[in-house]
C-alpha cells in the first residue's frame, strides 16, 4: 500500500505542477491540431470519404504520437531544475514509484488531448465510424498507454544525453512499432468495419499483451536507469 501511496504522491505532484503553467497541455493540443490540419490539406479527406476512413486511423495515431513526443521530452525537465532528480535518487521510496507516477500523469495529459482532438478530427475528416464506436473507448487508452509508458521511460534515458530532444523519437519509434501496428489496425478496423470483431479483438489483445510486458520491463529497469552512473 505504501508503494501506491508513493505513486499517488508523485502523480499529484506532476498534475499540480502542470496545472500551474499548463505549458505541456497547450503545446500538445495545438501541435495535434496542426498535424490534423496538415494531414487534411495533404490528403483532402472530405473529397474521398472511403480513403479517408481507411487512413484516418493511421493519421490519428501519428498525430498523437508526435504530440506526445513533444510533451514527454519536457516531462522530465521539471525534475532537473533545482537538482530535484538528485533528491529523488536519495529518497527511500522506490524509483519505479516515481516512474509510474510520471507515466500516469503523462497518460492523463495525453488522454485529455485525445478527448479534445477526437471531435476536431471527426469534423475535419468528415468521419462517421462504420463499426462499433464503443470499441474505440477501449482501444484509445490502451494505445495511449503503450506510447506513454515507453515514452516516459526513454525520455528518462535521455536525461543527460546531448541532443536529448532528438534521442526520444529515435528510441521510442522502433520499440513502439508493434504497438503502433496494433492500435492503427484496430482503429481502422473499427472505423471502416473491414475487420470482423474477432480480428479487432485479437489486435486489442495484442495491445494489452504489449502493455503488460513493457510496463513490467519499464518498472523493473527504471531503478537501473535512474542510477546509471
Amino acid at each position: 500500500m505504501k508503494y501506491l501511496r508513493h505513486v499517488w504522491d508523485h502523480l499529484r505532484k506532476d498534475l499540480r505542477l502542470e496545472w500551474r503553467s499548463r505549458d505541456s497541455i497547450n503545446g500538445m493540443l495545438f501541435f495535434a491540431l496542426l498535424v490534423v490540419v496538415v494531414f487534411g490539406l495533404a490528403f483532402d479527406p472530405t473529397s474521398y470519404p472511403t480513403m479517408a476512413r481507411q487512413i484516418s486511423g493511421g493519421i490519428l495515431w501519428v498525430a498523437l504520437l508526435f504530440a506526445s513526443i513533444t510533451a514527454l521530452n519536457q516531462s522530465w525537465a521539471r525534475e532537473q531544475r533545482n537538482n530535484v532528480l538528485e533528491a529523488q535518487r536519495m529518497a527511500p521510496s522506490p524509483a519505479s514509484a516515481l516512474f509510474l507516477g510520471k507515466a500516469l500523469a503523462n497518460m492523463f495529459f495525453v488522454l485529455l488531448v485525445e478527448a479534445v482532438l477526437a471531435p476536431i478530427f471527426i469534423v475535419f475528416f468528415n468521419l462517421h465510424a462504420l463499426g462499433n464506436v464503443w470499441l474505440l473507448v477501449l482501444i484509445l487508452p490502451l494505445g495511449t498507454w503503450a506510447l506513454v509508458v515507453n515514452g516516459t521511460f526513454f525520455a528518462a534515458l535521455g536525461l543527460r544525453a546531448r541532443n536529448r530532444e532528438l534521442l526520444l523519437p529515435l528510441l521510442l519509434l522502433p520499440i513502439s512499432l508493434p504497438a503502433l501496428l496494433a492500435m492503427v489496425q484496430a482503429t481502422t478496423g473499427v472505423l471502416t468495419a473491414d475487420l470482423d470483431p474477432i480480428q479487432i479483438n485479437t489486435w486489442i489483445k495484442q495491445l494489452l499483451g504489449y502493455n503488460i510486458i513493457f510496463t513490467t520491463v519499464c518498472i523493473l529497469l527504471f531503478e537501473t536507469v535512474l542510477n546509471a552512473e
Partner: protein, 245 residues
C-alpha cells in the same frame, strides 16, 4: 593490462586468413560451380549470400542481449568483467547492423529482380527492418548519451530490443505474409536441391567465420579504448594527489 601475445596475434591472422579463404571458395561455388536455378536463372545466386547473412544477423543480437545482461549483473559486483561484457555488446551490435543492412539490401535487389517489387510489408522483411532500426537506435544511444551512463543505458535498451523482437515477429506474422515459403523445412516442393548445398554451406561457414573475426577485432579495439580511458583516468587521479595543498 593483458599483453597481446604473439600466439594470440598469429591465431587472429590465421582466423582472418581462413575466413577469407572460405569466402573465396564459397564465391567460386556460388557464382561458377553450382547449377543455375531453373526458375530464376543467375539472379538466384544471390540466395547463397542473402540467406546465410540473414541467419547470422539473427544470431548476433542474442549475443548482444546476453552480453548486456552480464553487464547489468556485473556492473556493481565486478566492474572489470562488466567492461568486457560491454565491449562484446558493442561489437556484436555493430556487426548486427552491418549484417542486417546487407541482408536488407541483397533482399531488396533480389526481390526487385524476381518479384518486381523493392519491398513489401510482410513478417520477415518487416521484422528484419525492425531489427535494423532497433540496433541503429542502440548505436545512436551510445553516441548521444553522456559518458558515465552510456554502457548502462545501452544495456537497458538492449533488453528492450530483445523483448520487442519476438513481439514484432508474432504480430506481423499474424497480419499478413508474402515472403516465399521457407526454403528449408517448408513442406513439399520447397528445399534446396542437393547439388546447390555446397555453395550454401561454404558461404554459411565463410560468413560465420568472417562475422566472428570482425566481432573479435572490434572487441579488441574497444578493449584497447577502455584501457586507454582507464589509464588516462588513473593519471588524472594521481596528478590530482600530487597537487600541493
Amino acid at each position: 593490462m593483458e599483453q597481446r601475445t604473439p600466439t594470440l596475434r598469429s591465431v587472429a591472422w590465421l582466423w582472418f586468413g581462413i575466413s577469407t579463404a572460405v569466402l573465396i571458395i564459397g564465391f567460386r561455388q556460388a557464382i561458377f560451380l553450382v547449377p543455375t536455378d531453373a526458375a530464376q536463372g543467375n539472379v538466384g545466386r544471390i540466395f547463397y549470400y542473402h540467406v546465410p547473412i540473414a541467419m547470422l544477423s539473427l544470431i548476433f543480437p542474442y549475443i548482444n542481449f546476453a552480453a548486456s545482461l552480464f553487464y547489468l549483473y556485473w556492473r556493481r559486483r565486478d566492474p572489470l568483467k562488466a567492461l568486457t561484457a560491454d565491449a562484446l555488446a558493442l561489437s556484436t551490435a555493430e556487426v548486427t547492423v552491418v549484417y542486417s543492412s546487407i541482408c536488407l539490401l541483397t533482399g531488396m535487389l533480389w526481390g526487385r529482380a524476381t518479384w518486381g517489387i523493392w519491398w513489401t510489408w510482410d513478417p520477415r522483411l518487416t521484422s528484419m527492418l525492425l531489427l535494423w532500426l532497433l540496433y541503429v537506435s542502440y548505436l545512436m544511444l551510445r553516441r548521444f548519451s553522456s559518458t558515465g551512463q552510456t554502457q548502462t543505458l545501452a544495456a537497458v535498451l538492449s533488453v528492450f530490443a530483445a523483448v520487442d523482437v519476438p513481439i514484432v515477429y508474432m504480430s506481423i506474422r499474424w497480419w499478413r505474409t508474402q515472403h516465399p515459403a521457407p526454403v528449408f523445412g517448408g513442406g513439399p516442393g520447397s528445399g534446396v536441391d542437393p547439388s546447390m548445398l555446397p555453395a550454401f554451406y561454404w558461404n554459411l561457414a565463410g560468413w560465420t567465420l568472417w562475422g566472428i573475426c570482425i566481432v573479435l577485432f572490434r572487441f579488441s579495439l574497444e578493449r584497447r579504448r577502455q584501457h586507454a580511458e582507464q589509464e588516462a583516468a588513473l593519471q588524472a587521479i594521481e596528478a590530482s594527489l600530487e597537487i600541493p595543498q
